[in-house]
């Protein structure tokens, strides 16, 4: 039914994860922002916890059971709530939590039970982007050629999160360049495989606790069974759509990251406002408030809107509904909204918004990536527009 009071189970997850985040991530957030590329050894505490798990599939195509208990929430919504809380603690650290890479999400989404067995407990990064292929994932040039019982991969992948720390990487490559998007498949490449090299790590605006790197694949040979999904190249772009479907899961997750970072910023701002004697009471005409308060209220309203879009996308996934449109909506709104909220907080905090003595300046740097990766705001708008206008890719380019 249409009813948006958060169920008790959601509140329980939120409170639990908030405590974890507040005690384990927030205290070391600044440290690893400054010590860029140093592995946060404190995160070892998370090893063994399967963050991106999923129940084993019944059968292909079979609809997942809907959650029956009205107080229970589904896996996707649970993940969304968890991600927000973790990113409230620190987004860069959250991205560095062992076994919680985007590659893990991809594996959880499409792996066979056998693959889940092999890779489910490994830390999996995701390698899609190439130097000449960012938003246009269909144009990637990394190749995978079947040679006996192996795939042989060649190419270069940039902007891989957890590049240094992960155990394996889900690599997008084409098995048939002529086939265009239809030829694009994803493969699990394990660290240590010959021909698979981490070239360098990036220095970034934000999420500096997270190690972003470039991989080179040079005749990198992996087992035939490491392909995710079917190896068959169909004439249609069904296969590529399958690969892209991962995004319907990961985009709300990125939206949830933005919720966490933006809320952290707002919480600090409220604290400082209250210290300065400005109590928030959510009742006055906002134009009768101070400029800071009105800005704060508007930002908080935006955060709430972002969150509802994100919860909706996750809730739909939990109910087995196709949520491509809603996933992009959540990402478009939350990516941009988080960027603007954290910028605004650093403005209304005055000098406190600029100094590294507070985390506001960091959150402003961190959140900006959430308007970029997993599809920029522009790409999300394209997807939304094509959906609501019922236009093809060639009609709306």
């Amino acid at each position: 039914m249409a009813f948006l009071e958060p169920p008790p189970d959601l509140i329980k997850v939120r409170e639990g994860m908030h405590n974890v985040s507040a005690s384990m991530l927030r205290p070391i957030a600044r440290k690893y922002d400054e010590e860029e590329h140093t592995y946060p050894k404190e995160l070892d505490a998370f090893r063994g916890i399967q963050v991106m798990g999923r129940p084993k599939k019944k059968k292909d195509g079979e609809k997942k059971d809907k959650p029956k208990d009205p107080n229970k929430i589904g896996q996707n919504l649970g993940t969304i709530v968890t991600v927000e809380e973790m990113c409230w603690g620190d987004c860069g650290l959250m991205l560095s939590i062992p076994n919680a890479g985007l590659g893990n999400a991809a594996i959880a989404a499409v792996a066979t039970d056998e693959q889940l067995e092999r890779f489910g407990k490994k830390w999996a990064a995701m390698a899609i982007t190439e130097a000449e292929s960012g938003s246009d994932a269909g144009s990637i040039s990394t190749t995978a050629d079947l040679d006996g019982d192996s795939w042989v991969l060649n190419g270069e992948k940039i902007f891989v999160t957890c590049a240094d720390r992960c155990d394996c990487v889900v690599v997008w490559a084409t098995v048939d360049k002529e086939a265009g998007k239809a030829g694009i498949k994803s493969f699990v490449v394990e660290k240590g495989t010959p021909g698979f090299t981490l070239d360098h790590l990036e220095h970034k605006l934000g999420i500096r606790a997270s190690d972003t790197g470039t991989f080179v694949l040079n005749n990198c040979r992996i087992p035939k069974e490491n392909i995710l999904g079917s190896p068959e190249v169909k004439q249609t772009t069904e296969g590529f759509k399958g690969v892209m479907k991962t995004f319907d899961n990961t985009r709300p997750m990125v939206a949830a990251m933005s919720l966490g970072v933006a809320r952290a910023s707002l919480d600090l701002t409220r604290e400082k406002l209250e210290q300065a004697g400005e109590k928030l009471d959510y009742s006055k005409n906002p134009n009768n408030c101070s400029a800071r308060q009105k800005d704060y209220y508007m930002a908080e309203a935006t955060l709430e809107a972002m969150r509802l879009l994100t919860w909706r996308a996750a809730w739909m996934a939990d109910n087995g509904d196709f949520n491509n449109l809603e996933a992009s909506m959540s990402k478009a709104k939350a990516g941009r909204g988080g960027t603007l909220i954290t910028q605004k907080c650093s403005e209304i905090l005055g000098p406190l918004g600029l100094t590294t003595k507070e985390l506001s300046e960091k959150w402003m740097r961190d959140s900006k990536i959430l308007d970029i990766f997993e599809g920029t705001g522009q790409i999300q708008h394209l997807i939304i527009a094509r959906n609501v206008l019922k236009l093809s890719r060639s009609q709306l380019q």
Binding site: A2, E5, R312, W315, I384, L389
Partner: protein, 364 residues
Amino acid sequence: MFGFSLTKEQKMVKASFAEVVRDIVAPNAHDMDENREIPAEYLEKAWELGACVAAVPGEFGGDGMEYSPMLNAIVLEELAAGDMAFAVAAMLPSVFINPVLEMGTDSQKKKYLPGSCGEKYQSSTAAVCEPRLDFDAMSLAATATKKNGSYILNGAKCFVPKAASAPNILVAAQLDDKPQLFIVKAGTPGLEVGQREKNIGLYALDTYEISLKDCQIPAENRLGGEEGCNYARFIQKGRAAVAALAAGECRASFEQARDYAKKRVQFGEPIAYRQSVAFMIAEMAYEVDCIRLLAWKAASALEVGRDATRDAYLAKIYAGETAMKVCDYGVQVLGGHGYIRDYPQERRYRNSRGVATWEGLATV
């Protein structure tokens, strides 16, 4: 149960109002606006569906159904997608009925509800807004003073729908430092209903300024009797309602922009093929959802009786800012055609500006 999809019942109610909108409201919205009048028979179509009285117990003449702010939010959106003035007019009785039902004394319920639930509603109304720059629903300039078993009301109110014909007006006034609600009967000495207002929007709805000059009412006319009422909750319901109205107005604006952009050909192709237009429409699409979901969240809290102060506040300020933006885009996509009154986008542009300002104009 938590969720984002409508139940069968919610869908049914929505569909029945959507039908009235499709058959009566939308086709006549332009004329109602230009003629500054909503024909009574149109309103009756909405009332036949139980708008406003569904939750009134049978003993008082209502349908005795469970009171559901969520369902009201759905209905408000649906009606406002047809015309916002119509939506306010159709749901207006409830700004009187709901508070009396929920917060009135037994004798207030007995006295006022049956008269409000007859075949034709007596459109009682509420007076919350005040004609000043810094109007604040939680801190009113209108005052109520207790004196010899009566309350003496003073102050000015604006945007009071149907004040000239309403048998009773629920007036918000400051009693000591606390805003409260008072039932003022038409014709009470000291109550003066001004000329019909002319405002930027809602042309079809007749609203009035009223002034209260030492207007004396019996003590029993204070809503909730001596203990008074939960005025904050009344305001929260109004805020959620305004957000729901905005969702409807914006949805209609989005839909027209979307359809127009696909048909309108410029430079050899539908303008929808241009990112600048398509992205505006994409933004409208999710902003409509944002407004609706915020309204629903507040309504859900009100439904379970949880304090909705924050949710209702955020829903209203978000809707206030965003409805203006969405309806602006709605005009922009249509270009010159959006500027002429033949197309409803221009009306939506005018109506949407009130969202940030109105209080107490509707209720969930």
